[in-house]
Each structure stands twice: as structure tokens, then as C-alpha cells.
């Protein structure tokens, strides 16, 4: 039986995921899911499972994906059972303060990019600009200057593969070169392969609240070398974030509060989209549950299908733990760190779609409560499954000395992460991650010029059920893209189908925070602002995110990157439209995504 994929997701799979020889497809989507299921279930052999057990697990994993209940991150779908065999999406590489260290990191990043992973770097260990280099007697060029070398290397590698490498460059706010770093993407033509984030410390936030100066520290010794006014530095950051969304922020202390193995090392940075804090040389594989399917009839209405959610969560954790063993790691150091902590990141997608089915507005206290309820449930069920696996296969090797020692015997140091789900949410035909809807209707133009209307199916059904459906209304929704202010649409329906642009930034942050409360790792989300938003409004969102315990924040002010151009091969396109198919792009979860062909750009120029 064929998997019930939408026509668009079939096209996306054919274009980007399925095995091909030249232009000829060598597998169907069904073959792909089977290939992945077989490889991931196959590792059970090393845990002494019999053939029949492996077969039934293969079937269970296949159904999990073929029913679109759960999807692993893209590298797993693309590479399982193929030559590359690299299954993780996220990596963090250390950048040591030496010529050898810097260029090792560049080489390792190139190897990871080739295999479809994204890399996060902290440049905070590098000595500041103009400090002495002992061996040569010269002066150091500083982190920003070296970032340009990383950027150029990524540029060269991306021309070889089909997926571009994505990088996150982070600098601690107390690094002496912080002001140069904040401004390093002012010019749109530089650092095009990097997202940049400032690593914020508690000391800095305290100084900001008290309107005092804070200390800049020499990276090696930690000794104070200068001080800056916290509010002036914060102002500079807000100015640039307003201008083009960069830099984002990462709250380093919040990330380290959640570090399960502080005895092994400190978390210095995270992956490119900000959802996965990792130790240096660590990788993580992610997967997401499709919430749109986790609903069921309840009396006259609709409720959350907790039993199904439990079953899918348990099986997904089992799947992701197996991926750690099935994975072929690009570097021995990464294999060692990853297998010692066995971190996985189970998250969700289709949250906005689920809310529309439950008839709740994204911008409401009820939605915040649903977010908390769902994520706390997933977190707890995931931990129970991890305990079950630990009883069978042993705890993660770094368990002794971790925050879980003597508390809970887990197989995995972390279990949950809310990832941006660009392509996999397209495969499932649902809204991405925990982002709101971007539009209630689209038009599609076929090559011969005719236009087709595509209306959100939940909205269309609701309109029919409540008797306000008409062809004319659908045309109006298409014209506007949203339902706000349409007389024929009842107020309560307008609230349910609220879109990203119409949602007050405060609610964006509150939803992110609600998921963060019950997520081991972090939450990838973009806070969308209208074009008219001020620097002060953006600052307010950052402060709220800190207060509510978020681990980082990415903002996008509508239209603020319109003058920027992306290039793919020989095609150039403005960043508003997809360079491959011309559709309008969405800014979500720290990336730019095409809702039509799954083109995605996670480094924004």
C-alpha cells in the first residue's frame, strides 16, 4: 500500500531524498522508509535480539514513519543504509586558540558539511584582536577575522554538495572583541554562511538590569581587561537585530543549567538553529512527532489522543537511541563524545495545526497550557522509555557524575529538543515545529498561467461545518492570505486561524517558553515582528525570553531582509522568494524555508 503522502511531499522527496542514478529514481518513498527502518532496527542484533524480534521492530519503525506519526531528521532519511551513513543533523566543534586548532576546526566542519550536518562554533576561546602571538612576535587578528576564513571554506564546500553547510558562530558577550562581532554582519555580503549569536551571561544581564558596566575578560586567564556599559552593548545588539535579525542571543547560563554532564565539560555553544546545546565534538540526532495526528474525537468535540502520543513517543525514543549506534560518525572524537552521552532530541511538529483542530488560538493562555501539557507528557514518557532501555542496555557511559546519578537511570543524557522541521514537516504536510501558521490560503500558479487555490483544509472544513463556506469567501481569503477582518468569518474562527504576522510577539515568546519548560535541550523558534516594529519592542521580547527561562532567541522583522539576495548555482533571487522555484519564503525557526519545494537556508546573508 502506498503511503498517503501529499503530492507536494512526493515531489519534495523525489527532488531531495530518494536514491537516484542521474535523473532516474532508484526507490519510492515507501522504499526509503523501509530502508531507514531496516537499518535502525538492525542494530538490535548487537543487543542480542532474535531475527523475528528485529523484523517486528522494523515493521513498527516503518509504520511509525509511513503513517507520518514521527519523522527523524533529514540526514537519517537521506543517508541510512547508504554509503555516507551519517545520520545526525547537529554538531558542535571546538575552536582552539592556536593556528592548528583553528584550521583543524575548518577541516572538520568541511567533512561534516559534506555529510549534510550543520555545525556550531564558539569563537570565545580565541585571543582578542591585537594580542601578542608569542611564537612570531606578531599580533593576533581576532575571532571575527578567522570567522571570515571559516566562511570562505564553507562557501567552497557548498559548491560540491547539494545541501549547503550551515554554521553558527557564537562569541561570549564578555569577549573583548564583542562590539566588532555584533556588527560583523552589517554588510550583507560578508559572513553569508554564518548565523551569529551573542553568548549572554548572567553577569551581563544583572549589569543590564542595574544599568552598570560589566567586565570584558581575557579568554585564557579570565582576568578583567576592560569594561563596557551593558545597556550600550545591549542597544547595539538590538539595533542590529532590528536591522536584519542578527545577531541572535544564546543564554549561556540557562544552557549550562540544563547541561546533564557538567563534570565532563561546559556548553559553549549550540547548533545553527539554536535548539541543540552540545559539548565540543558532540553530535545529536533529532526527530519529531506529528501533533496534527495526535487528536481524537472526544464526546462531541476533539481532544488530545494521549494513548497514541504515548505509543509514538516510546517508539520514537527507541528509534532515536538506535540511530546513535547505526550512525557512521564523520570523526572519531565526535563518535566518542556522542556515544558517551547518547543525547537524543525528540520534538514535535504540526503544533499550530493541532491548535486549529482543537479550536484554540495560538495567541492564548489555553495554547500555552496545551503546549505545557503536551511537552511535559512527552518528556516524561520519553524518560520512562529511556529508563526501560537503560535496564536492558545500560545507562549512558557518562552517567556517573551526571545530574542523573542516583536520581534516574537513563539511557540518554538528554531526550527532548524542539527542532525546526523545515523539510520533514513538508513531508508530513503539517505546520513546522512549534511555529504558527504562515497563511490560511495560497495560490498556486501552474506553468501555463492558470491559478489554483489552496485553502487550509481545517479552515475549509470548519467553514462548511458552521455554514459560512462560499466560493467567494475562499477567493477573499486567498486574496488576503489571512482571515482577519473578513465579515463572513466569525470572530472566534478569526482567532483560531491567526497567522505569524498577526500574533503579538509576546505570545510567540510565551509559547517558546512553555515548550522550553519541559524540553531538555532548547527550542528553535523565530519571533516574527511586523515591519513597523521598533528596536524597543524587539528588546522587550529578548528581556521577556530571558525572564521566562528561554535558552536563546531569534527574531525576524518582516521585510528586513528583502534587499538581500540568495544565489543558487547561477540563479539569483531576492530573499523573499525561493531561488529554486520562485515561491514566497517563510522565516521560521532561525531559517528561511520554501513552503513549495523545501528549499532551505539556515545561514542568512
Amino acid at each position: 500500500m502506498n503511503v498517503k503522502l501529499t503530492p507536494n511531499s512526493r515531489l519534495v522527496l523525489e527532488k531531495r531524498y530518494l536514491k537516484k542514478d542521474q535523473d532516474k529514481l532508484l526507490e519510492t518513498p515507501e522504499d526509503m522508509f523501509y530502508r531507514v527502518a531496516q537499518v535502525v532496527a538492525g542494530v538490535e542484533e548487537r543487543y542480542g535480539k532474535r531475527n523475528t524480534e528485529i523484523q517486528s521492530l522494523t515493521k513498527a519503525f516503518y509504520n511509525l514513519m509511513a503513517n507520518l506519526e514521527f519523522m527523524p531528521n533529514s540526514p537519517t532519511l537521506m543517508n541510512a543504509g547508504r554509503d555516507l551513513g551519517q545520520l545526525s543533523a547537529c554538531f558542535v566543534l571546538p575552536v582552539e586558540d592556536s593556528m592548528e586548532g583553528i584550521f583543524d576546526a575548518i577541516k572538520n566542519a568541511a567533512i561534516i558539511h559534506k555529510s549534510g550536518g550543520g555545525t556550531g562554533f564558539s569563537f570565545s576561546r580565541l585571543r582578542p584582536k591585537n594580542s601578542t602571538v608569542r611564537s612570531t612576535g606578531g599580533v593576533a587578528s581576532g575571532p571575527v577575522s578567522f570567522m571570515k576564513v571559516f566562511n570562505a571554506a564553507t562557501e567552497a564546500v557548498k559548491q560540491g554538495g547539494t545541501r549547503r553547510g550551515a554554521n553558527l558562530g557564537l562569541l561570549r558577550v564578555d569577549h573583548p572583541d564583542i562590539l566588532e562581532f555584533i556588527a560583523c554582519k552589517e554588510n550583507n555580503h560578508e559572513m553569508t554562511n554564518f548565523n551569529i549569536s551573542v553568548g549572554i551571561t548572567r553577569e551581563f544581564m544583572r549589569a543590564l538590569q542595574e544599568d552598570k558596566p560589566y567586565h570584558l575578560r581575557e579568554p585564557h586567564t579570565g582576568s578583567v581587561v576592560a569594561q563596557l556599559s551593558a545597556s550600550e552593548v545591549f542597544d547595539k545588539m538590538m539595533e542590529h537585530a532590528w536591522l536584519n535579525g542578527e545577531p541572535g542571543v544564546v543564554f549561556l547560563d540557562a544552557m549550562n543549567d540544563g547541561n546533564p554532564t557538567p563534570n565532563v565539560g561546559e556548553i559553549e555553544t549550540c547548533n545553527p538553529c539554536g535548539e541543540q546545546p552540545l559539548l565540543p565534538n558532540e553530535a545529536c540526532n533529532l526527530g519529531s512527532i506529528n501533533l496534527k495526528l495526535m487528536v481524537t474525537k472526544e464526546g462531541d468535540g476533539v481532544g488530545i489522543d494521549w494513548e497514541r502520543l504515548r505509543r509514538v513517543t516510546r517508539l520514537a525514543v527507541h528509534f532515536l537511541d538506535n540511530v546513535i549506534d547505526a550512525n557512521q560518525y564523520p570523526l572519531p572524537d565526535i563518535e566518542k563524545t556522542t556515544k558517551a552521552n547518547r543525547k537524543i532530541g525528540l520534538g514535535v511538529m504540526g503544533f499550530a495545526d493541532m491548535l486549529t483542530i482543537l479550536k484554540l488560538s495560538y495567541a492564548s493562555e489555553e495554547a500555552v497550557q496545551v503546549a505545557k501539557k503536551i511537552m511535559s507528557f512527552i518528556q516524561e514518557e520519553a524518560r520512562k522509555e529511556s529508563e526501560r532501555l537503560a535496564a536492558e542496555r545500560g545507562v549512558f557511559p557518562n552517567y556517573v557524575g551526571s545530574i542523573y546519578e542516583g536520581v534516574r537511570k537513563l539511557r540518554n543524557a538528554t531526550l527532548t529538543t524542539i527542532a525546526p522541521t523545515g523539510t520533514i514537516s513538508m513531508i508530513c504536510g503539517v505546520s513546522s515545529g512549534v511555529e504558527p501558521l504562515f497563511a490560511v490560503a495560497y495560490t498556486k500558479t501552474v506553468m501555463d498561467g492558470t491559478s489554483l487555490i489552496e485553502v487550509n483544509p481545517t479552515f475549509e472544513n470548519l467553514a462548511k461545518d458552521y455554514g459560512f463556506y462560499s466560493e467567494e469567501l475562499m477567493q477573499n481569503v486567498v486574496k488576503q492570505g489571512t482571515v482577519r477582518g473578513l465579515n463572513d468569518v466569525p470572530n472566534w474562527v478569526q482567532k483560531i486561524f491567526i497567522t505569524a504576522q498577526e500574533i503579538d510577539p509576546e505570545w510567540h515568546v510565551k509559547i517558546q517558553a512553555a515548550f522550553q519548560t519541559f524540553t531538555d535541550n532548547a527550542v528553535s523558534k523565530t519571533i516574527n515582528f511586523p515591519h513597523t516594529a521598533t528596536k524597543e519592542e524587539i528588546a522587550k521580547a529578548y528581556l521577556l525570553a530571558y525572564e521566562l527561562g528561554c535558552k536563546g532567541l531569534t527574531v525576524y522583522r518582516d521585510g528586513s531582509r528583502e534587499e538581500q539576495v540568495v544565489t543558487t548555482g547561477t540563479t539569483k533571487a531576492k530573499l523573499t522568494h525561493c531561488p529554486e522555484c520562485g515561491a514566497e519564503l517563510n522565516h521560521e525557526s532561525g531559517c528561511v524555508n520554501c513552503p513549495n519545494c523545501a528549499y532551505s537556508l539556515c545561514h542568512i546573508s
Binding site: 502506498n2 519510492t28 495560497y442 506553468m447 492558470t450 489571512t482 513552503p595
Partner: protein
Amino acid sequence: MNLSKEKITDLIQQKGISQNELARLMNVAQGSLSNALSGRRSAGRKILSGLLSIFPKETAASLTIMERINKRREPI
């Protein structure tokens, strides 16, 4: 998703069946298939996966016509 009528008509002829027989093999209503083929309706997941199961050598790309999405949004 718009189907390529030419391509599918070709395939039907090659297989030596009628459009109605095809609908029956695909387990969809004749009207649904006819609407999708004429372009009156966009082809959904049932139609496309049905066609692919009857014509396993084809792909989603080979059965459909390229299209692009326009997200229409006026200033709010």
C-alpha cells in the same frame, strides 16, 4: 497539484484501459479522477498515490505540471 493530462492519457492508452477502468483500479470515484485530469480540481494525495500504484515506473514529477506557490499577503 495539477496533473499532466497528456502524460496520463498516454499511459491509459498504453495500458489499453479506459479512464473509468483506471478510476476503479485506483479505488477512487470516476468524477474525482475526471476533475483532477481536467484541472477543475487540484489532485490530492489519494489521486496521486493511486496513479503511482498503477503506474509504478512513473514519479510524482513525471505525472504533474510544475507549479509555484504565491503567498498572498496584503499589509495588515
